[in-house]
Symmetry: C2
Subunit: 734 residues, 2 copies
Amino acid sequence: MASLKSLFGAESIAVIGASKSPGKVGHNVLKNMIESGYRGRLVPINPKESEILGLKVYPSVTAAVADGKIEAVVVTIPAKAVVPVIEECGRVGVRYAVVITAGFREVGAEGKAREQELVEVARRYGVRIVGPNCLGIIDTHTPMNASFAPLLPARGNIAFISQSGAFGAAILDWAQENNVGFSKFVSLGNKADLNEVDFIEDAAEDENTKVILCYLEDIKDGQRFLEVAWAASRKKPILILKAGRSEAGTRAASSHTGALAGNDRAYDLAFLQTGVVRVETMQECFDLATSFVSQKLPRGRRVVLVSNAGGPGIIATDAIERMGLAMARLEQSTVEKLRSLLPPEAAVLNPVDVLGDAPPSRYEAALQVVGEDPNVDAVLVLVTPQAGTDPVGIAEVVKKFHAAHPEITVMGSMVGGTLVSEGIKRLLDAGIPCFVFPERAVASIQGMVRYSEAQKAAGARVNFDAIRVNRERVEEIFRQVRADGRTTLLGVEAAQAAAAYGVTVAPAGLAHSAEQAVTLAEEFGYPVVLKIASPKIVHKTDVGGVRLKLDSAEKVRAAYEEIMRNCAPYLGENDRYGVEVQKMMPAGRELIIGMARDPVFGPMLMFGLGGIYVNLLKDVSFRLVNGLREGDIHNMVRETKAYTLLKGFRGEKPADIAAIEEMLLRVACLVRDFPEIKEMDINPLFAYEEGKGAVALDVKISLAASPVADEATRNGEAGASGQIAAESQSRAGN
Amino acid sequence: MASLKSLFGAESIAVIGASKSPGKVGHNVLKNMIESGYRGRLVPINPKESEILGLKVYPSVTAAVADGKIEAVVVTIPAKAVVPVIEECGRVGVRYAVVITAGFREVGAEGKAREQELVEVARRYGVRIVGPNCLGIIDTHTPMNASFAPLLPARGNIAFISQSGAFGAAILDWAQENNVGFSKFVSLGNKADLNEVDFIEDAAEDENTKVILCYLEDIKDGQRFLEVAWAASRKKPILILKAGRSEAGTRAASSHTGALAGNDRAYDLAFLQTGVVRVETMQECFDLATSFVSQKLPRGRRVVLVSNAGGPGIIATDAIERMGLAMARLEQSTVEKLRSLLPPEAAVLNPVDVLGDAPPSRYEAALQVVGEDPNVDAVLVLVTPQAGTDPVGIAEVVKKFHAAHPEITVMGSMVGGTLVSEGIKRLLDAGIPCFVFPERAVASIQGMVRYSEAQKAAGARVNFDAIRVNRERVEEIFRQVRADGRTTLLGVEAAQAAAAYGVTVAPAGLAHSAEQAVTLAEEFGYPVVLKIASPKIVHKTDVGGVRLKLDSAEKVRAAYEEIMRNCAPYLGENDRYGVEVQKMMPAGRELIIGMARDPVFGPMLMFGLGGIYVNLLKDVSFRLVNGLREGDIHNMVRETKAYTLLKGFRGEKPADIAAIEEMLLRVACLVRDFPEIKEMDINPLFAYEEGKGAVALDVKISLAASPVADEATRNGEAGASGQIAAESQSRAGN
């Protein structure tokens, strides 16, 4: 898409519905635009006025254009009047419309139709829409404040994109009190046209933005998000507070946005696979954003604590370990130098305790020494106000340290009230995050490390096109299945489809007579398994439709007849698919591969331990197939407890993990190439010893009602299989 | 112990080492005492002065006592002078000494000896000591401030007991700025005599204290803590921030306090089993304490949100579910009433969205309606400042609601800065907790619910004395083992000891000849198992020391000879214990029962899934035997995934869970009665179908080197078995 630079940097803006009455949105927006210091052409539009706030008023956009170009408009007129005005804007070449007006999708059927119409008109004329039903947008660097927010935020480097206008406004108020500045503020509103993805893409390119912060309740276009966020997060950190994590939260979000909620797990994966940092609380959101803006990324996760008290040092140590950071192990020479510089009772291992009576100079000495240690990625300076403590003096030495060691992430925690407030202020003013309680500092360092490690680990996208597959064969199988009026594949068909994509499957075929069964058995080699082939009979064993361990022609023949006899009562005229003959494979470690579709992000691949423990342990890992990176499949195997078994548990030889990964990749490729596959699973997959491969014993595939499956999935019709089913069904579609 | 009322309410206090020089501790303490408004007799002691701060100075405590009783002293003189002064105090009848002076255990060997001497002298004369190396103590209701803290905290109802003086002082500073008041403040210092347990016990009786808040780095007397905290938490909430949760934190705490750290898991259990609420962060600590002080306990976990914005409502909903609370399901009549009172676009399910333009009256209407709903235990009122929002007005209606419904826990969250600050203040002043971000409010409600549910669930202590056991038999077995110069029991001996306490074990005996083996086998019934009996041979199978499934006399005979032949090379002259003959039991579900000793809290019982998955799954639960309550064993079985298997997984019949619980109880009883049991485990325990019991297949018991085992355990010599071993060894004793 085109950059939104010409929106945020528009050189001429009209406020449609500008009003003389203070308190009215059309007044506040115009006033905000003026007070923001906007330097472009600013035009109030109102057929009944001639001058507002000292500006000449035009009766219409058309009239205004007669005197010069209008690049963007802010719309504050009643809902019913919006569509014709947008049409007019389109005709006269306006490129952007920020529609603040409410009364669209959020108010029910009539509003929904109106929003539909708005989008159609806008598309027809190439006008891009922000909102409707939003607070507006702000760019503090342009500057421009095309919103009715009560405050212009301080200039800064955080782009804040909020799906909740109220939350956005509240945060602007909070930010002013907490000295947090923004580069841009975007209230997304109903996201009828431009959505979070567009603004993330734009902010990634914006040189005034160092970190992108989003409050989202849903994501509109999962596929595009996976592309854009992946590319954007390589340039700068993206933090997302995605509401609706819990079931009740999803329900609340869904009823609030009117959108079909995706599975929250799919959101987790989408963020993981794009390097987005997901934050859980509002506090964390802003603590982390300000840390990213002011500090360099830590080179690693090793933190050193310099404290004048034991207790808070231990609390911070606990927090460091709890959050997955590490206490830096100092070099012997560092320890010795500390020992020589600090009083004898000081603790010189990490945490470094400079003691309760430490003057700033003692902090300074300790910081200088640890700053030279190559094992230190971040420093947290802890201060408690004791007799003689000088928080301001300590703040000054911390600032000096930061200037001397910009490569080390540094934060402060000054525990107290009035005694430390000036010290805290000094650090904040110098761009060094400082908190009253140390846990928030640790959480901020951890968030930065998460981002930084995700960037280091991020591999290229998997190149599915390089995988050799027999696509035609799968198309043919699906065609036959549909021609037969089915959407569920027989086991043999599913295995053949999987095999066409390179999945190793147990040799199998369909027999329509006892003799055919024997022929197949002889071909595969004994022993074999016979199973009734029927899409109607789900629990084949219960009806006597399965016979195992058949090791002679005689037994195969007898089993065939017996199965047909047992199953006859359950089979209709058109269900006579015969009996599946499958080579019995030696037992391996039992695993599962599965796939279900998320309505937002598409196919979600699952891997886990098979056998009777599956449901008990829920030992499964997931990845989105769209957005799959090199290394993702490697990691998803290693995230499970099954991995402990696979790599050789209690003296067993390791399993053929490479073969398992190959299977996962090929299943991913298959479900990606065929969106009409609604569900697929392989259960069990037997994994053998290293070098001996793995084999799919039972493959299940079911297709969407129509071959254009993606649409069906989007409308929430798609079910899901096995493990994933319960998950998505309970969360989605409420 | 005696109440500490006469310490906090002492009618006469001497400050030993009172000084004229501002800045000196001896000056500050005296000044603090005067400024606190202390109404008793206050006596500065200093041989070189005659008057300080307007008070008559005595040269010694003895001289002061000549003019009237001295109940307590505060000691601020140099470390070397402390012991003689305490002796003098003891002689003249002083009952308490708050020893602020540092230079004891915390400074190494010399200090440790001095502290030892201090304790001995104090014990001799019956003087109770606070500290040494502490900040002092405060009681705001007496009032008295026997500390050198720079501030007297506001009067309130939180008793704050801190093992870190620096943290304590910092919090007093923080509290003043945040309007948090205290009833008592205790700086524990080195805890040479009085420790956290004494102060918890005292605060539980104190009518001015509504909640007890502790910052602790260790607990001195685990056994007494389990008794006292259990009784105290039934009277009022106890919140503990126990530092040293992580391995590195434990190390830091250990090196800081000089105490041997217990296993952090044991602390978790100790808190669980006494109803103590463990908090993780400093913020949570105080948020929760102030909530307890100001609000009634929620009757349940069902929360309703009333918000003027969707986004923060969803975020709060997520937090509610994440923290294990529940969104209240409103009655149909409530929903209808809301529907009739609120605008049509308002959301009337929970969260209730009163919309962005809501005036206070709309909040009031919504609150009145939800307040009548029987499904509402707590209300969280969310406010974002939008056009026309009146946070102060809303605060007033929330106050009215609270007055009308004191039985409903109510909290506020006003998201913003200056626009909401007055609203927040109004609520805080009225004793209604209010936070900028809603997550802290939810965390506070959750902490209150945790306490309240723990109190409801708390059963009586298990009455071990009511369990019939054969104690003499166990004593006899242990005597024999020790007489044999061993500390590890043979399998047969361990099984017999367990059986004497009512544990069902597989029939087994020792055979010293093939014929004896046959006799035993005939007695038990075939098939049997033969195992070499030797404390020396650990891996019996590896040396050919085990033979299974022996179903005839002939096979038993042959197996006996074979085992003796195989093992001969490994057996010394004194290791000829023969061969164990055990009846082979039918396979059941494999479980484990284990026990290891924690240096602080004593025996820790373990239960979990057995078999090859044990180490993979770490599916185990624990309880402390001391402090075991009715219901604890019931719960520890249900906390494991094994429980899912036991209650009948995939159509299996349920296992005999009652029998398993009985086994756990009996093992608990055995290890409690015999502190010399260092480690014990039963692996596997076979559990059969309901009504068919469970049986211990292999029992292992090892004894402490000396029968007075508790001492050994305390000194950290005790190892631990199986699962627990790795855990305690990695955490403890650093």
